[in-house]
């Protein structure tokens, strides 16, 4: 169990201007104090609702958006905030696959050209060998070599996502951020792509950061899962523990909102009232306190510590002290 990436106190803030003339300045704290190790060969998933900072985390780790604070150690080096020249050799190892492959593939390049580009750019093979490499990449993602001559618009959504994965694989990476990589796909195709990701992970020893909002999908593919709320980690635990015994009140509410494919499932589940507050003006103390069924006065004033309450099970909550244990039952 060695850490491939050690992330400490990672934060991302955006300075924005508000008002008709941009006269008001404001700060959006998209990500705050993200600390975790990403273990070699694992799938770590980040889940949470829109605006919780899960995609920002992926971008900040890869330095695609320069973090405002914190460090990301990779191969003994802090890569947070490195300039593009210093990053370039590392980009080979650290890849990303996005939700919508149609917007990331050049419509005027054939699939073969799109796959050859990163090989040529990083100088990974002599020119004569490139076609053979492209063929092998297509085969890796379950496509026949004849697709090399096609254009993106000739492919289905699932096939385009396979190409996007092949393109990430072209540089023989060690780490891939899958940013909602299967969210736009239909159920029957989604399962194909998930299985492909699992096969490739085994074959090449890949490490994944899997960013998703579909908890049922995440449960099936993750070794560990982190739950985020308004820019902060609420809970991080081995997948089996998180789904069997969610501890943070937000994780519990989130899981309880997921519909079950069972017409007899009880309908009176725990419902979160209200909506996620604006990250422009997040609540004080624990950011979840206005919607939390357990909130007390301390939750309004102090940010809860990130504590290990079970084996590799971390949670940020004043009330929860461990599996089945809370400091108090409800609001005072």
């Amino acid at each position: 169990m060695t850490a491939l990436l050690e992330i400490r106190g990672l934060a991302k803030r955006y300075d924005i201007r508000l008002g008709a003339f941009g006269e008001k300045q404001a700060v959006v704290r998209a990500l705050d104090d993200f600390t975790a190790d990403i273990i070699e060969g694992e799938t770590l998933s980040l889940v949470g609702e829109s605006g919780c900072g899960k995609s920002t985390t992926g971008f900040a780790i890869l330095n695609l958006q320069r973090p405002s604070a914190g460090s990301v150690r990779y191969k003994g080096q802090d890569i947070a905030g490195l300039d593009e020249d210093a990053m370039r050799p590392l980009r080979r190892d650290l890849q990303i696959v996005f939700q919508d492959p149609y917007s990331t593939l050049n419509p005027r390049m054939t699939i073969g050209e799109a796959l050859a580009e990163p090989i040529r750019f990083h100088g990974l093979a002599p020119k004569a060998e490139i076609p053979a490499r492209v063929t092998r990449l297509l085969e890796d993602v379950g496509m026949t070599p004849r697709f090399a001559n096609r254009y993106p618009h000739e492919l289905s959504g699932g096939q385009r996502q396979r190409v996007a994965i092949a393109r990430a694989l072209a540089c023989q990476p060690r780490f891939i951020v899958c940013d909602e990589a299967i969210s736009a796909l239909d159920v029957s195709v989604q399962a194909q792509i998930l299985n492909l990701l699992l096969d490739l992970q085994q074959k090449y020893g890949l490490t994944y950061l899997f960013i998703a909002h579909d908890l049922a999908v995440v449960r099936h593919i993750s070794d560990r899962v982190g739950v985020m709320y308004l820019g902060r980690l609420a809970e991080l635990a081995p997948s089996s523990a998180l789904f069997a015994e969610p501890l943070h009140p937000y994780t519990r509410a989130l899981l309880s909102a997921v519909p079950e494919p069972n017409p007899r499932a009880p309908r009176n589940r725990q419902r979160l009232v209200g909506e996620v507050p604006s990250p422009l003006n997040p609540p004080t103390g624990c950011r979840f306190h206005p919607r939390c069924p357990l909130a007390r006065d301390i939750c309004k004033t102090s940010v809860p510590d990130w504590r290990e309450v079970g084996p590799s099970h971390h949670v940020a909550c004043h009330a929860v002290t461990g599996p089945g244990r809370t400091n108090w039952e409800g609001p005072a």
């Binding site: 909002h213 079950e260 494919p261 069972n262």
Partner: protein, 326 residues
């Protein structure tokens, strides 16, 4: 009592190369007070089927055959003027993306009131008061204040509530909900689903849910029609669909669905291949090229929906499995 009966509906896309069929002979019915779920993947024709009823098909897409009987009339034969009376006051809608359906430069209360003035001939003042009541009905806090809000000032969940209020303004007998929660977060989705379910019972409407989400529809529908490539492949009460899925496509779809219950699987069973594109449908059963139960006879004719032996409410369009069951 049957409220809507669709028979043999066909819809074609006009292309330069000739018409391409997207909906191929759909039979469907909705009874009064019923909640029907129409389930299928992108491009299966689920939205087009319902939009064709009220004349909301996009350009170059037309209903070319069949009937849609609603209140003793064939909706497909109504003039534009007659359809305008059906929309809103007899059949209401809510769509996926409220931001594109709401006018950004009209206050939300005025948008709801506009529909009431137009459909019910109310005075502006009465309509405004009624709009506030509708906003309260859909669970918007401080409805008097919110009636004066602009759409951009509301969150996604609140905007969808406004859309629901508009959909209900004409007091329709049937509400078509076209993926109304797909763009929403799961905790907000749960709130909206609870709301529509409660309103359906309170207002005694029929609701047609169009969705790709099998898990969501399990808790919502009384009956489910599963669509594949423009045909209904299975039509049954919701319990039957989940307890005894019979068509190979329904079985495969449920099998590939990750869930929170049961054992976590390393690999999910998947369906090989992709659905056919319009105009490139295989002969015979459209699912045959991806089907694990395929027989040589499957490519000869498009299978018809037939009742299962012993359960006439459970209909399946697959002679191969029906023979196995019998």
């Amino acid at each position: 009592m049957t409220l809507l009966e669709i028979k043999g509906l066909t819809i074609d896309i006009a292309r330069d190369s000739g018409p391409a069929r997207v909906v191929d002979g759909i039979d469907l019915s909705v009874t009064e007070g019923e909640s029907l779920g129409i389930v299928g993947e992108s491009g299966c024709g689920k939205s087009l089927t319902m939009m064709s009823l009220v004349g909301l098909l996009p350009n170059r897409i037309r209903a070319t055959g069949g009937k849609a009987l609603f209140g003793g009339r064939d909706l497909l034969k109504l003039s534009a003027k007659e359809l305008r009376k059906v929309r809103g006051s007899e059949i209401g809608f809510i769509f996926q993306d409220p931001m594109t359906s709401l006018n950004p430069v009209i206050r939300v209360g005025d948008q709801i009131a506009e529909a009431l003035v137009y459909q019910k001939g109310m005075t502006k003042a009465a309509a405004k008061a009624q709009a506030v009541e509708l906003l309260a009905l859909v669970g918007i806090p401080a409805p008097e204040e919110r009636a004066n809000a602009w759409p951009h000032e509301l969150s996604g969940g609140m905007r969808q509530r406004v859309m629901i209020a508009m959909g209900l303004a004409g007091n329709p007998k049937m509400l078509i909900a076209d993926e109304p929660t797909t763009a929403l977060d799961v905790t907000i989705q749960a709130q909206i689903v609870d709301l529509v379910r409660e309103l359906k019972d309170r207002l005694k409407m029929s609701v047609v849910w169009i969705t790709h989400d099998l898990a969501l529809i399990a808790g919502l529908a009384d009956r489910i029609a599963v669509l594949y490539a423009g045909t209904v492949v299975e039509d049954a009460p919701v319990e039957a669909i989940f307890d005894r899925p019979t068509h190979p496509y329904t079985r495969a779809l449920l099998g590939s669905l990750p869930t929170l219950a049961g054992a976590a699987m390393e690999r999910l069973p998947s369906i090989p291949g992709t659905p056919p594109e319009p105009g490139r449908r295989p002969p015979g059963c459209p699912f045959a090229p991806r089907c694990g139960f395929v027989q040589p006879s499957c490519s000869q004719s498009v299978p018809k929906l037939q009742a299962m032996p012993g359960d006439r409410r459970h209909k399946v369009a697959c002679p191969v499995v029906l023979e196995g069951v019998a």
